[in-house]
Structures are given as C-alpha cells and as structure tokens.
C-alpha cells in the first residue's frame, strides 16, 4: 500500500551478517568486529570485537580487544557501518 523505499535499514544490517561491522554508540565509544546477528531491538552480537573510545582530538584510542562473542546492548547504538572501519 504505502510507498516504502527499496532500501530498508534492517535489511542493510541483515546483509552485513558475517561481515565486518563498525558500531558507533551515542557516546564516544565504538566497536569493530564481525557481525553475527541482531534482534528486534538491534541488540547486536559481534565476534572478536575491538573496543574504542574517541578522544578529545577525535582520534580513536583502543580500550581493549575481545575474543569470542559479545552481546552489545542496542540501547545506545547510534549508527552501524557495514564493512567496518577503514583504518583498522
């Protein structure tokens, strides 16, 4: 009925599964890793995640690396970037 556009956000995320992803929270914190899956709330499961925080200069500082899978709460996820981070 309604004129829905052909690019649906959740479809874009779905196509990123098993590929690198870059997840940006509403704070200065970011995660990179392989997207394993997500649920209705866009809670996200990523594998071998690297955790970053943007400093005052806008440069990212690595906080820690994670091995295995991580459930990242969708509560404060602001943006998801398929393909991951170019410079990491």
């Amino acid at each position: 009925m309604s004129l829905l556009p052909d690019v649906l956000p959740l479809e874009v995320i779905d196509k990123t599964i098993n590929q690198p992803v870059w997840i940006i929270l509403q704070s200065q914190r970011e995660f990179t890793g392989t997207l394993i899956g997500f649920d209705d709330f866009v809670n996200v499961i990523i594998e071998d995640a690297v955790e970053w925080v943007l400093n005052e200069e806008g440069e990212d500082e690595m906080i820690m690396t994670h091995h295995g899978r991580m459930l990242l709460s969708g509560n404060t996820i602001a943006m998801l970037v398929p393909g991951g981070k170019k410079n990491a």
Binding site: L25, S27, R29, I36, G37, F38, D39, D40, N43, I45, A49, I63, M64, H66, H67, G68, R69, M70, L71, L72, S73, N75, T76
Partner: protein, 83 residues
C-alpha cells in the same frame, strides 16, 4: 507478521549459551566486571560469581574483588562478552 517476542532470537540464544562461563560485563559508567555468569534475564540483569572489578580494562588495575555474588542492573549494562 511477526510476534513481539521472538523466543529464538540470536541474543537469547547467545545468553543461554554463555551461562556458567567466564564473562566480561561492562556498564555505561565504564566499570568492567569479570566473573562467572550465574544467571541473566531478558532485561540483561546479570548475576556474577568470583567477580573482579576494573575501570575500562583489566590492565587498569584491580579495584575490588568480590567473594559473594554480584548483581548488575540490566539498564546499565553496555555489553556482555565471552572471555
């Protein structure tokens, strides 16, 4: 088309798979808790045993270690990660 709560969503699957395993849990405050995952619910409320507490990462020095169970409020949980 779909029901509100998907009982077999990847996140619930993940949660049931990691019960009993050692995990890292980080809160939005930046506090990092490392311990054995005793239980978890759909709100991401978490109970840990043999827990140590650090700020941001474990190389930042031990702040506290708990012998009793530690309960973490789901609304404050940023992530739960396998160790």
């Amino acid at each position: 088309m779909s029901t509100k709560t998907e009982t077999t969503s990847v996140s619930t699957q993940f949660l049931s798979n990691i019960i009993g395993k050692p995990v890292n849990v980080k809160l939005y405050s930046g506090m990092l808790y490392n311990g054995r995952l005793e239980s978890i619910d759909g709100f991401m409320n978490v109970a840990l045993s043999n827990t140590t507490e650090h700020y941001e990462n474990s190389s930042n020095g031990l702040l506290k270690s708990y012998n009793s169970d530690v309960f973490l409020r789901g609304t404050q949980v940023m992530y739960i990660s396998e160790v």
